[in-house]
């Protein structure tokens, strides 16, 4: 499982994920609708990148193109130098909600992508990730008996269980209440720090981006281009009332075109 990391050294010259002149044009009833235009982006191995932008600008489109669910109209996405042709268990997309399978238990969901493993390995892997996302005691529960936050943790566990090198998250906490959302951010950071996957995280929440990311990519409104890439040079755990935090947050708000005062 560590072979991939051995063969692909984590150097600045070889990014984990690279988007080159990526463009997506939708065909809506014969009318061409450009959504993404000339997106160029490198994501390093183990990096946590957040993608923000005005609503409807094409954040999810970019994510779907990177995860291989959508073929770009022009340009390409490559992972470890290999062009992405379709979805692959080495990179898992976590959906906003309703992503877990309601007909399977917590264990069944986490073990969903593990049918190639031996029974013993599978049981061990499931137990590990039940613990990672703190769902002990709910192994045999069905998603309908779980809260929204637990379901999202389950979805993350199901994704991590297959050992992907990249996690794509599409507003994973967007449907949760604000308190659960804050808790989930802490959980995700904890998991990211222990598991060290590359994370590409779409959000519409500026604070979420500044709290989580190493870098924040800002998209313009449609047809979306990369407007700016902001490096968040704050160590974890981040003090969310420090002046640097507020400075970066204000910078992001300005980038998106929002006023300082409401």
């Amino acid at each position: 499982m560590l072979q991939a990391e051995d063969t692909v050294p984590d150097t600045r010259s070889a990014p984990k994920l690279r988007a080159e002149h990526l463009g997506v044009v939708y065909d809506r009833d014969g009318q061409l609708l450009p959504v993404l235009e000339d997106i160029n982006l490198d994501v390093q191995n183990g990096e946590f990148v957040c993608l923000v932008g005005p609503s409807g600008c094409g954040k999810s489109t970019l994510l779907n193109a990177m995860a291989g669910f959508l073929s770009p109209t022009s340009g390409s996405v490559s992972i470890d130098g290999e062009i992405v042709m379709g979805p692959d268990p080495r990179r898992i997309l976590v959906f906003q909600e309703r992503g877990v399978f309601p007909w399977l238990t917590v264990e069944g969901n986490i073990g969903f992508g593990l049918s190639k493993l031996s029974r013993a390995e599978r049981t061990q892997r499931i137990a590990h990730y039940v613990k990672t996302v703190r769902l002990e005691g709910f192994e045999n529960s069905y998603p309908s008996d779980l809260s929204g936050g637990m379901k999202q943790r389950l979805q993350v566990a199901r994704a991590l269980a297959v050992n992907p090198d990249i996690l794509f998250l599409d507003e994973p906490f967007g449907a949760l209440d604000s308190i659960t959302r804050v808790i989930m951010r802490g959980e995700l950071l904890r998991i990211w720090q222990t598991e060290r996957r590359t994370i590409f995280f779409v959000t519409h929440d500026i604070d979420e981006a500044v709290q989580l990311a190493d870098r924040v990519v800002v998209l313009s409104s449609r047809p979306a281009q990369i407007k700016d890439i902001l490096t968040i040079d704050l160590p974890h755990p981040r003090n969310i009332s420090s002046s640097r935090y507020l400075e970066l947050r204000d910078e992001l708000l300005k980038q998106i075109g929002l006023a300082y005062e409401i």
Binding site: A67, F69, L93, F95, Y142, P143, S144
Partner: protein, 260 residues
């Protein structure tokens, strides 16, 4: 009693019993007042049920009817579910076959009786064929719509974990569509029970449908006719009740949360 109040436990039994008693009373006094010689009173029907129950032929008839339903409905499930999944899975197949299904679907299985007798002769096979036909279409339709209403998010998640097309069908699409398929199968079972009685009146000489028609033909025993009708109703209710218990199975229960 306010209309918002939850009925109390005793009320939930009390009022239905009152309604049934009222109906029995109306029935009883209608028979008494009209002095009909033909139509039986509830009391003579009750005696009729006791008479049927004491004769072993009733149990044989019940077993025959249930056997025919089990085979006909079973065949409809075994053939209908894979075929329906296939139709739902491949839009081109559905577009090709759907007009034919929609044309055949409104034809009552009763109308097929002459055709069934040409194909299979008078006997069990004709009756089973009719039950199969009646049960097949609700199952097919439920499968097609069940598969096409599986949320794309589930399919995408399945694809993301590297499932092949057949694995996707077996591990994602089928379980996701199963609650809807069960609803279709439940309707199909109800139809099968309707059809078996009709088929037994014409195609065979055993079963509850035959019991109804035979009680009339041999001596105009209308007490036995109505007794047999009641037995048919009770068994149909029991079948539906039994089938509904499947909705409680945990791997499909999520699909029935908001259903009645």
């Amino acid at each position: 009693m306010s209309s918002l109040a939850q009925p109390r436990a005793w009320e939930r039994f009390f009022w239905p019993v009152v309604a049934a008693a009222l109906l029995l009373a109306i029935w009883h006094f209608s028979v008494v007042w009209t002095a009909t010689k033909v139509f039986p009173s509830p009391l003579s029907v009750e005696k009729g049920i006791a008479e049927l129950a004491s004769k072993h032929v009733l149990w044989a008839d019940i077993v025959d009817s249930l056997r025919r339903v089990a085979i006909g409905f079973g065949l409809a499930v075994i053939i209908g579910i894979p075929f329906g999944l296939w139709l739902g899975w491949i839009p081109a197949a559905n577009q090709t076959v759907n007009p034919l299904i929609q044309l055949l679907r409104p034809i009552s299985p009763i109308a097929w009786i002459p055709v069934a007798i040409i194909f299979f002769g008078v006997g069990d096979h004709a009756a089973i064929f009719l039950i199969f036909l009646g049960a097949l279409f609700p199952i097919l339709v439920a499968c097609v719509s069940g598969v096409s209403s599986v949320p794309p998010i589930f399919r995408n998640a399945g694809r993301n974990f590297g499932l092949s097309k057949s694995q996707l069908l077996a591990r994602v699409v089928f379980p996701a569509a199963l609650p809807q398929i069960l609803i279709g199968a439940r309707i199909a079972l109800g139809i099968a029970w309707l059809v078996v009685v009709a088929a037994e009146m014409i195609a065979v000489d055993s079963g509850l449908g035959y019991l109804v028609i035979d009680s009339r033909n041999s001596g105009k025993r209308y007490d036995l006719v109505v007794a047999a009708m009641l037995i048919i109703g009770i068994i149909g209710l029991a079948l539906d009740f039994g089938f509904r218990r499947m909705e409680k199975v945990k791997s499909v229960r999520w699909g029935f949360r908001n259903a009645s």
